[in-house]
Amino acid sequence: MRLENVWLRYHRRGPWVLQGIDVRIGPGEVAIVLGRNGVGKSTLLQVAAGVLRPGRGRVTDRPTRVGWVPERFPADQPFTVTRYLTGMARVAGLGRAAADEAVTSWTDRLGLAAFRSVRLPELSKGTAQKVGLAQALLRPPGLLVLDEPWEGLDAATRELVPELIAEVLAADGSVLVSDHRGETVRLPAARRWLVADGSLCEETSSTDETIAVVEVAVPAARVAGTVARLRAEGHQVLRVRPDASTAASQALPVEPPRSAGAARPAEPPLGMAGELTAGQPEAAEDAVESAAGETR
């Protein structure tokens, strides 16, 4: 699929939200759409999915079957989970038996089995989001567009999302996903599209990128968890040392494996400071913000 010189604005005299976007995604590829709030990530995703029509330019070679998971699932509908998903499966072209089978399969897989007869407005935000995820996957999509898919999901389903993406990719589908929670570190092979000022540029992953070292301070009791989490987010934790103001400045080296939870440092009794490297300044800022949150 290709977006060719796509421009979009919501009102005739309004500002252009997307300006001359020109990008292509092929079968078996996943791209993460990044950018600050309000820069047009969701707009770009909706143009790709076919929800919005570009004011100028065009979208070509969009796969026939598109699955779109909106940022907020529209739960204000008078259907139960089963009835809604069965209806959407039929709308997607499945026969009665195939629709029932698909609904049973996806509700089981996404942990919705207990909610089958619950009406949509009575679902929690996370459960409703699972229904949104299920409706997009009832028929294997050639293009899966996920707008903040991890929002509100429980840990088990968050872990499941990369698996679902991998299945779409394995079937030669394409996936577009936006995320502001840092969950896309679970998609290490993904292309990264940065949206800013209406334009899109692709971040190239390079191994010779300049490395920055960021020091963070966390309560001693949370050192192990913080180290594990930072590693899970793709950062390299260099060492953990006691805070100079509360303890002797004895540095505790940390083994450098990058896999989450592979190594846990001994927990010192007092406040600790650590260093981590960040290949990308944005990621480093996120890490500092996270660590600051831990200390409050």
Partner: protein, 229 residues
């Protein structure tokens, strides 16, 4: 597309919002037939006129019941053309059910009578003319209701304004001697025809007029949807 039509009709019926236009229609018909008995063709002609705004309102409610994001999900799933068509088709089906109730209603309350004078139309002819008058109203009302829907005009206030203007305009511009009768669907002209001389050519002309008016308004609806994104 039929699955989407069924889903939208189910959504419309399950919210209970279908009751409001149905009750309004029944109250209007009750008032209409409460005054005495009339012959079918004449009675049905007036019934079709008063049902026009009710059916347009019903269409607006049916289309507005579906959340905007759900409408976009349907569009992604079936495509733009089918999504638009399914909404109009669902509204037409709902309108036909209301028309069936309207056609049956006067017989239940004794609002119609058979031929009295030798020159009066027979009951079957009267029924056929009444059915024609109501079917003439359906596409026009569905078109107006769609144009007034949230997906078309955005805010609720604009939708009510479109409905009110359309309803009043259909009567005002449809009066005998109107300066611009083509601005309105021919529901008033149809009522006059059912009460008077219903020549085949007249019926054909009015049917074509109603379809052309409806097509123009549906065109406006589709253009508005396209502009709304």
């Amino acid at each position: 597309m039929s699955a989407l039509v069924r889903m939208r009709l189910a959504g419309f019926l399950r919210t209970g919002r279908a009751l409001a236009p149905l009750l309004a229609g029944l109250i209007t018909l009750g008032t209409l037939y409460g005054g005495g008995r009339a012959q079918p063709a004449e009675a049905y002609g007036v019934s079709a006129v008063v049902l026009f705004p009710v059916l347009a309102w019903q269409t607006k409610i049916l289309l507005d019941v579906e959340p905007d994001v759900q409408r976009r999900l349907a569009q992604v799933t079936v495509g733009v053309a089918r999504e638009r068509s399914a909404g109009l088709l669902a509204a037409a089906v709902a309108a036909l059910v209301t028309v069936a109730v309207a056609l049956l209603f006067p017989w239940l309350v004794g609002g119609v009578s058979g031929p009295v004078d030798p020159g009066d139309r027979s009951i079957p002819v009267g029924l056929a003319l009444g059915l024609w008058a109501h079917l003439l109203v359906v596409p026009a009302a569905v078109a107006l209701g769609a144009l007034a829907s949230r997906a078309s005009v955005g805010g609720a206030g604009y939708g009510v304004a479109v409905l009110a203007l359309g309803g009043v305009g259909a009567v005002v511009f449809g009066l005998t001697g109107s300066v611009a009768p083509w601005l309105a669907p021919p529901i008033m002209a149809a009522a006059r025809t059912t009460a008077g001389d219903a020549a085949a050519l007249t019926l054909l002309g009015l049917s074509g007029w109603a379809l052309a008016w409806s097509a123009a308004v549906v065109g406006g609806y589709l253009w508005r949807r396209r502009a709304q994104g």
